[in-house]
Symmetry: C2
Subunit: 444 residues, 2 copies
Amino acid sequence: MRTVVAKFGGTSLADAGQFQKIKCILEKDPSRRFIVASAPGKRFPDDIKVTDMLLGCYQHAKNGEDYEKDLNDIKNRFQDIIDALNVDFPLSNEIDIIRKHLSEEPDSQYMASRGEYLNSQILAAYLGFTFVDPAWCVCFNEDGSLDSAMTKRAMSAALRPLKNAVVAGFYGADSEGRIHTFSRGGSDVTGSLVASAIQADLYENWTDVSGLLAADPRIVDSPKSVEYLSYRELRTLSYMGASVLHTDAVLPASNLGIPINIRNTNSPDDPGTTIVRKLPEGKIKYPVVGVAGRLGMSVIQVEKVMVSDGSGFSAVMLDILRERNLPFEQCLTGIDTITLVIRSDLLETCKDELMEEIKTKLSPDYLGIKENLSMIAVVGERGTETSDANVKVLRALDEAGIEISTINQGAGKLNLLIGVPEERYRDAIRAIYASIDSSLNEAQ
Amino acid sequence: MRTVVAKFGGTSLADAGQFQKIKCILEKDPSRRFIVASAPGKRFPDDIKVTDMLLGCYQHAKNGEDYEKDLNDIKNRFQDIIDALNVDFPLSNEIDIIRKHLSEEPDSQYMASRGEYLNSQILAAYLGFTFVDPAWCVCFNEDGSLDSAMTKRAMSAALRPLKNAVVAGFYGADSEGRIHTFSRGGSDVTGSLVASAIQADLYENWTDVSGLLAADPRIVDSPKSVEYLSYRELRTLSYMGASVLHTDAVLPASNLGIPINIRNTNSPDDPGTTIVRKLPEGKIKYPVVGVAGRLGMSVIQVEKVMVSDGSGFSAVMLDILRERNLPFEQCLTGIDTITLVIRSDLLETCKDELMEEIKTKLSPDYLGIKENLSMIAVVGERGTETSDANVKVLRALDEAGIEISTINQGAGKLNLLIGVPEERYRDAIRAIYASIDSSLNEAQ
């Protein structure tokens, strides 16, 4: 029998009405056996997410301030759901346990995790599924990093005997039982770990959009959505800021080639976006899947005659960065030049020192820094088999009078990376989107 | 008074007729006071250069074979010039000295240098100039590297008292008096050292072409010649194989901002190409100066998810190359990828080992190598202020159906580096040249 892992995000679990939608979705396909649930998200734009309420409560407790009102508000969010769905769940007992924790030694990660913990139990009760607490099967090391091998084993052991289950997202625990959370959006990661542990056929990620859009809808008017893309393409788009899925959620699923399907709980008949290793037969792969970018970039330019004649120079440059633990986004060496793209915020405190060190260690003929740049990625594994898309993109930028600071396309040809001034970023995204519109792989 | 250093190449000194042309050139402008001379080059396509005759002679002596015929042929080449110009020069004595050297412990560098040594003395006698032997003023270290500071001092000391002189090109000596030569074409370097030592106003480099061509004439039909270009542009073109001037000849002149003028001995009224730091007033700088490329390149592609998130990965990669003393032509890091362009001949003996080391040290998700590539540089300091030239170039390659493996334009924006398959190299050069033809800075 096929097994599908379905992760539901915060807006998909914001209130009783959303719980009912989820029940319909699950009833429609009984292979959706393992559910990963987030804490209740926003019901309306100005609403507060339960996780934020919990952290506010923690802060008050930590400061020795009164937190009874916070606790009551949190309780009410869940009580509303329980009442509307007529679920049997001992909420008062659970709130008492949290109250006790707060009165002793309040811990922010423990508190942040309680939204998923409670919501998943309520959902499990509503669905008649088994609740699985990830404190037992998402295994963290003491330092807060994930122990992937241990997690896989424990998760597999916990889930395989079950017909179906709801696993709370976002957190786990170390061997001392101390709760650790992933970074925000981490329920995506839990979902991917569950899919990987039970070798699911499909990992569905249910959210409030009908898949990934080919461009940021705050910049481009109604961008097309993407039907299929590869893990690598998704990773590039995520890296560049297309925030549809937690970055760490890709690897566990992609390692096993498990397709990830981004779906919309509020529009469950939309096919959404599917992330695959290989396209299904009969599907056409369009050259470009999308465009995304990041602001706040700086470019350091080092020139020295004869750099190209030995491998030492660039290695020394990268050693300088490594010793400073300063990550860089791109490094381009050409004839006599090295160009480094680095996040401006990381340079803020060390820029002068770094420039001085480069001067001393490399004695460059020219050393310069350009700030307030943005980096744009035009992503598509097949977009660059011919140069057609590249030509379109560069021509569009040229016609829009946008100066390009760097152009980078490595042999992987997964993407074309272009640097443009920050103040032209939105224009650039629009110009590029318009130029590739016809090359886009649109969801039907 | 203005001082010009004029270096004459092998074909400019191949026979007596060429010597006469040089005399006319020098008489036309008496500021041409310091001459650097090569050995006699080819008089006709199938001719043998004197330096090659000398090396053949050395080889025979080294192997214990008879070299009297070689020595006689060499003597005849010079005797023809001496006789035709009616110069007083003790050629037989000089040949006896070489014969004595060969009978004792023949040295290839000493032998290779004798063409310049003899030719320069004959030219000096013909012109009535002082002969200066670079054995005293081009100072090498024992390891064969040039001692630039010592050379500058000795050269300046030797030349400043003189009204005019002919300096033999191509060689010098270490402190033991042992002769060392530059690599082939090294008389260009001598000329640049002379210009730098006496702080000349101009370094003329007389050859058999009317300056630098915007593309290889063996590939493109009658390419335009370039009137002005910058040292950096020249350096890039030279690096990419436009072999008009020895690579090491640029630095000494460019350090002092001495313009280098490439001229044609056989067409002395042509203005040739001038390499300058800054364009003279009133001259328009065209966006592109030329296109050149190199065959025999390989591209190594390393992919690993999350490479971009830390600076360590690329540094380790470059350390591997540095420890192997393996220079690379380009390094491009993008999101999750590193692309390295390395000369295929350098990989020949170590490819498998290198790939194995990368696998072990970096555990990449993907590691691949693409061979039989060429790298093309479209060069022009201003070519990339707008993207116009880039668009033209990429469109031209696209229309010619040429697959591009890498695109690299750093912040210096001096050039656009493009990788294409070797078998399409000539097509690519032609397509690019045609696309930029109208953007070229043409000598009038």
